[in-house]
Symmetry: D2
Subunit: 354 residues, 4 copies
């Protein structure tokens, strides 16, 4: 219940940063879809650490193994279990942090809640968990691709630098997953600077879902925007979610904010897209636009004040292998979660139009 | 499934704007809590339309009737059903709008999805549904009050006017539910001006939850911030949700964003509250801070271009009894949904600490 | 969560025997199905007490009111709320039973669990709750009828008297809902005798579902037989459920029990139906056969020994308006619950075959 | 959704008979419980095939690996993933059965439902899946043992031979898991005879749960007996479930069936236990008694008529490594599922009495 997400297309996950393996079971996958470990691996590789000088150097191979649900290269309708073994899990360096509450970390709240805390690499609270989401998201993407639905996430803003243009083809051509090559250069420099200062940077990710048919989402408690908010706010370090015009609606008048309907090439569209492709919880056929705010990585190598488990004042430096900008890899996670939400809505829709 | 929210404390709702009645069943209410219709009514009265010149004049009494779950004035552990009859449901004026897609409205998407649309007052897509949420939220508030937890929502920004100070005692002393009496005056004037121009205004609501104990929220898919985002984004007209520093984290450095722990009067607190009282999906004992962006009411009385159900161009004026600023009453709804999320987390926590 | 049943087609119920009203919300109803209060009422009328000298004389009109989800005589995809007011709720006679645990009744366990007990007519534990199920089942039946699926329940055995032949057309032609008119006569006499002796009788109900297509049911935890067992064992007074040959399989050999496949008139069938129409959790196209054991009504007018809430010995006679054979009306409830299970499986199937 | 069971204590499973591995994720496990692979292994060993001449000789080691959720030998509140690799999975012998529908098997229904069927060893429909349940059940048992709750399942009847006495200590002292050593001898002989005749036998399992406190189970749709029926009917080959007196209530009068309350040694008990320890969906403190009917193994080595996937008549002999009496090992599975139901009810109860 607590570690499952989705209704018809449903993922259930487990695993800790320094445990034996990450495991995800994906239920509700329709049968007769071609699926291979390569389909999963290519998404995991996008998320994998150690790929450039601006992300964590943790040297994980992150090799996925599909344990069930595939027969002769196709899905069977049975649940698909996948595991990724944790390899580079040297937890010795966490011993010194054992009793100290790291600022911005879940160590304190996990200890309060459970009375026991797997402090090695953050245990269950580690963003390593999102590897499960990306693996499940790869299956979701495969299903969406059959309907020509395409989900793309990119860094729109980082450390105060904004992408001025959105060229989706450029996103994987730079190490910061930015759709504007020029801005990407500046972002990269900003990350390296922050790194040299033992600091970290936050930013904004935008997720665009194209070719989503009208009709997805189920009011009043499985509204598409609400499920997106739920999914995206579940991602570690995310502190805000907006759809379409988002917080900008606060300063708009109704006459500016309303998207006017028109018919174009036989299809009903809206002239603007302030609604972000969703009206009343249901997709309207326009691109679905979401944005999330990602906080700067909380593990930083500069000294910070804190207390330990006994309430005593302590100083702490987190000298691990952390990303100075977790946002970069969070794009892959945002893409995965958005895909899961859309597939789930797609399969629910069948129960209505079936 | 589609019209239920919550896990242990679970609400299931039904009803349309111009149907016979709004109905909500609240399941998972602990036994032996004193509860009367008056407890519910006083919350409904805060949401009720027709109370000032700046909200919709729809003259609904909104009188709640509790149908079950109470014995000798106390809850019994059985589900509580509540209904509110729709009275002022003159739907004649909707006849002209019948086949026309209103900009910003769910009429188009409902028609696409279901192939049938109850156009009277928006049917199921109407914000009248939120009356059910407020009724259920009143029960949640009663439970929270036993733990001294207090949830308060207020208009922080409206039509570009910002509340400069936050005085929680002032919120109900002005017709816009603003915690700053001076700003409230300006907001009221702005609403009246928008109304006179047949237009509407958006804004930002802030919700603060005080005295929430550390330990509420269940990673990784019932994280407290994710459930809040889910609940708040379910509210009609909401286009964005943020927790703590929210979108401002995009411009912060780790050293600025991290909240440092300290012990004060025997309690572990943080010096700042950028996290908004939640770390890794679990409350940390600090006030929980959320904000939502509410779009300007889409029903406006000025002429807008649109199309009808046959794809033909049409002009439309929505001359109903609409709020020029739905945000004002949305504060009550936001309070209710936040309360429901907190009670649900509180009851789930018992399964752990039990 | 606790008072909801079903996954896609989902009912949520509330109400007590002597409370104000019984309420049920039915979610997941596909749109564009013609539905009227008359469709519901005719099923409720079958269950209604006071219709013959062998059932409880409680004089309830049991008039249903649909509160939502219907527009122009059709379902809209929105949840359907229905209420039935409790009228003949004279609870004065329960005052004497207030502190005494009635043998076979839930008063003791409710008190242990909740620490509070609505003793009037059994409160939430009363079989009056099943009225909600029958109302929801009426909608399920309507959906099934579109697929020509027909669910029929009847008394197969009562007080030791067995139906020797199964004529489905005769079920409503006798007051005991028996498919064998001769046996029905004997059963009626047996009930009247038991009544005169201040006693009650148990029996067996059989439920047959015809024209169910192959493919319904979802292994491994939404298997069709498991969902039927869950639904039928939820009915008050049911102490056993069997599918197909049921407990008789204990004495069979594999060569006897296995149903052999053959093709007949282009359709794959089995020569026998020991499996009761379900193989591995999925319907196989044969009639689905289930049976339930219903215990004799526990409220009897003869004196029984018991204790009161203080642990003191007491004698008790329950001189209410009880059925000497609850099984008679339980046929209607069994039909409803089976229909709900089948519709839910039918709608889930769409997510697979889409 | 389809491959998950339980509400608070929730298992999600995957795996096929001849796939790579069986996987189960157990969510909702309270923290700070000592748990080792040995705790799981000892339960799996009871279920493991190849242990005597009366069960399938499939030579699986069935070695479990815990992948997550344990820290320093204790549970952490995080989900626990466990896998068991399939080793002795020689599927060559299934090639000849590929297109033939085996009588009593799910091959036909899976093919109808999913349009694809993993025929090797029955794929997802194989009882090998129950290994996951036993692994999860081992955790449930550990939790129950902390409350002194003990669940025991045994063969009560097999091939027409009945256990005349119930000595729980004897169950593991004979190869048929029978509580009566004398009957066990006869049952063993009957199994060997059936085996020599290429046939199989059915029987009845009884499950007794001792020391269950009053108050577990949540009306009206998480009643304890209904959850037991759901869980037990999910077990492969089970065709009937009864609680307490079960089907025998059909021939009882109310005065015989009602269990009279009395106070003994300060505890409220009932003189008889026809209710099987459950009243109105809630445990009453008496032992919980359930029984299930298990059909004879459908895979038998004698020739049977059937058809193939093209509708052509075929003869079939299933010469695999099958149990002539699956019921023997099903006792372990029944124990596991009952334990899971009880733990789930126990944790839900905390949300009420919390």
């Amino acid at each position: 219940m607590f570690n499952s997400f989705g209704n018809i297309f449903r993922i259930t996950t487990s695993g800790e940063s320094h445990g034996r393996a990450m495991t995800v079971i994906v239920d509700g996958v329709p049968p007769n879809i071609e699926l291979s470990e390569q389909d999963i691996q290519k998404e995991l590789d996008k998320r994998r650490p150690g790929q450039s000088n601006i992300v964590t150097p943790r040297a994980e191979e992150d090799k996925v193994e599909i344990l069930s649900g595939i027969f002769d290269g196709k899905t069977t309708g049975a649940p698909i279990a996948m595991i990724v073994r944790n390899k580079d899990a040297d937890s010795s360096k966490y011993e010194t942090l054992k009793d100290v509450f790291r600022p911005g970390h879940a160590g304190f709240t996990y200890t309060e809640k459970y009375g026991i805390y797997d402090y090695k690499g953050g245990g269950r609270s580690s963003a390593r968990e999102t590897l499960n989401w990306v693996a499940a998201g790869a299956i979701a993407k495969k299903i969406l691709s059959q309907k020509k639905i395409k989900v793309t996430a990119y860094v729109k803003e980082l450390g105060g630098i904004k992408a001025e243009k959105i060229n989706l083809d450029d996103i994987r051509k730079n190490p910061v997953n930015c759709p504007d090559m020029k801005a990407a250069k500046k972002m990269e420099a900003a990350i390296l600077k922050a790194k040299s200062e033992n600091n970290s940077l936050g930013g904004i990710i935008e997720i665009i879902s194209e070719n989503v048919p009208a009709g997805l989402g189920d009011p009043v408690f499985l509204k598409l925007e609400a499920q997106l908010a739920y999914a995206l706010m579940s991602i570690n370090a995310v502190k805000g979610v907006e759809i379409g015009a988002g917080f900008a609606v606060a300063d708009m008048k109704g006459s500016e904010c309303n998207d006017l309907f028109e018919k174009k090439s036989g299809k009903i569209i809206t002239k603007t897209n302030n609604s972000g492709g969703i009206l009343g919880g249901i997709s309207n056929g326009m691109p679905i636009i979401a944005r999330i705010a990602v906080k700067p990585t909380s593990s930083i190598a500069q000294e910070q004040e804190t207390i330990d488990i006994h309430g005593k004042k302590r100083k702490i430096k987190v000298e691990g292998r952390h990303d100075p900008a977790v946002i970069v890899r969070a794009t892959v996670i945002a893409e995965a979660m958005t895909s899961i939400v859309l597939v789930d809505a797609l399969l629910r829709q069948r129960t209505i139009t079936g």
